[in-house]
Symmetry: C2
Subunit: 236 residues, 2 copies
């Protein structure tokens, strides 16, 4: 079904062989704007699946998502031909493929560092498991939390962070500690071998010494400001 040619065309239309593993190769730089759109496709496809819809065209999806059909076809094609001419896309297959691209099949495991309200809110959500990520523990400094179980997760003392990571090798750390602690904790996590940090502390985290650690800073405050601007711009 997936139209996997082992050639591609260069500027002049001449067929050139694909370099080994280029198909599905993440190094073949997909533009970040496309990456940020993929989760949305994934969500909509999951929704369709739940509704028992197994086939969809870019035109139909375009209508649903209010996105240009050309863009959908371009985006999906970054990773290989997932559709079929004259038919459209197989929802189940496409859902699976996008999930693969996004890493839902990689069995990543996550720790949540900081068991405050936000950490607990994230721990309680089904966000992780729904995306193939396993939450394995929380960490905090507060002795009254340590030893408790929160949303099925043990809350461990932050002192155990290194030993735990050594043993369990989580790929993902969710950082919901106070701003002041964020940098130190992130360095400890990077040293302990974590591959990605999802940072909710209200600061721009950046680890120059650990270029292999992918950091995603979430700035909820920035989002609130965009909302505020949006209201203002509609008001007058």
């Amino acid at each position: 079904m997936a139209n996997a040619k082992n050639t591609s065309k260069n500027r002049n239309g001449e067929e050139i062989p694909r370099s080994v593993g280029e198909e599905n190769d993440l190094r073949a730089r997909v533009s970040p704007v496309v990456v940020r759109r993929l989760p949305r496709y994934h969500r909509y496809l999951g929704e369709l699946l739940r509704e028992g819809i197994y086939r969809i065209s870019s035109a139909e999806l375009s209508k649903m998502m209010e996105v240009n059909a050309s863009q959908i076809r371009q985006d999906l094609n970054c990773f290989g031909g997932f559709g079929q001419q004259g038919y459209g896309y197989n929802v189940k297959f496409l859902y699976g493929k996008i999930g693969e691209v996004l890493g839902t099949e990689d069995g990543f495991r996550a720790v949540i560092v900081g068991a405050g309200n936000l950490g607990r809110a994230l721990a309680a959500s089904h966000m992780f498991e729904r995306r193939g990520i396993e939450r394995i523990a929380m960490f905090d400094v507060k002795s009254d939390l340590i030893g408790k179980t929160v949303s099925d997760l043990p809350v461990l003392c932050i002192d155990e962070l290194e030993a735990f990571c050594e043993r369990e090798k989580p790929e993902i750390a969710v950082l919901t500690v106070p701003k002041e602690a964020a940098y130190d904790v992130s360095v400890r996590l990077a040293k302990a071998g974590v591959r990605g940090i999802w940072n909710f502390a209200n600061m721009e985290l950046k680890l120059d010494d650990y270029p292999d650690v992918y950091i995603l800073n979430v700035h909820l405050g920035d989002s609130l400001m965009v909302l505020s601007y949006g209201i203002r711009s509609r008001m007058k």
Copy 2:
């Protein structure tokens, strides 16, 4: 200081008069990508201010923020000439101006609907007051929460939503209710005159009947997927 000419140039370089109020006019469509960058400028300027730095050039800011200096000048110039040739930008003035553009001076007031972990986490943060937004109440359905005070906010019964909004006229609603309730609650909020909804429910909220209500959907799950992709793409 602010270079406020009352003309601008058209394509052919002829001077044309600015339409009344065009300067600082939000209708003069600023591109969304610029809007999304403004809060970051605001944060960095606030930081500089706290460090006692009162003057900065686009080149210095560029270095700090890892953003092209040309882009900074272009972005800031969307709203009027905030700098001064040969000098740079006055940090305090610029901070204030960007804040104004983003609505920090508008005295917006917010209610938080849903007093679960996420609602409480947001309520507890200083995010709102720091941006000139006043939190005034929380709402929930759970009778054991109603009547309590959470982070200085009264938790009211959702049944009182309409009466409360009628009386207090909050501009902003933060939606942290379960997915299933999100749509109904949002319609109630829109009917009750709220101007913007910050939606954390894991669904794409859209109110076709209330085009004046600005909706900002936050998809934390999408962000997690981008992290996962980022890890994957660095791993091999």
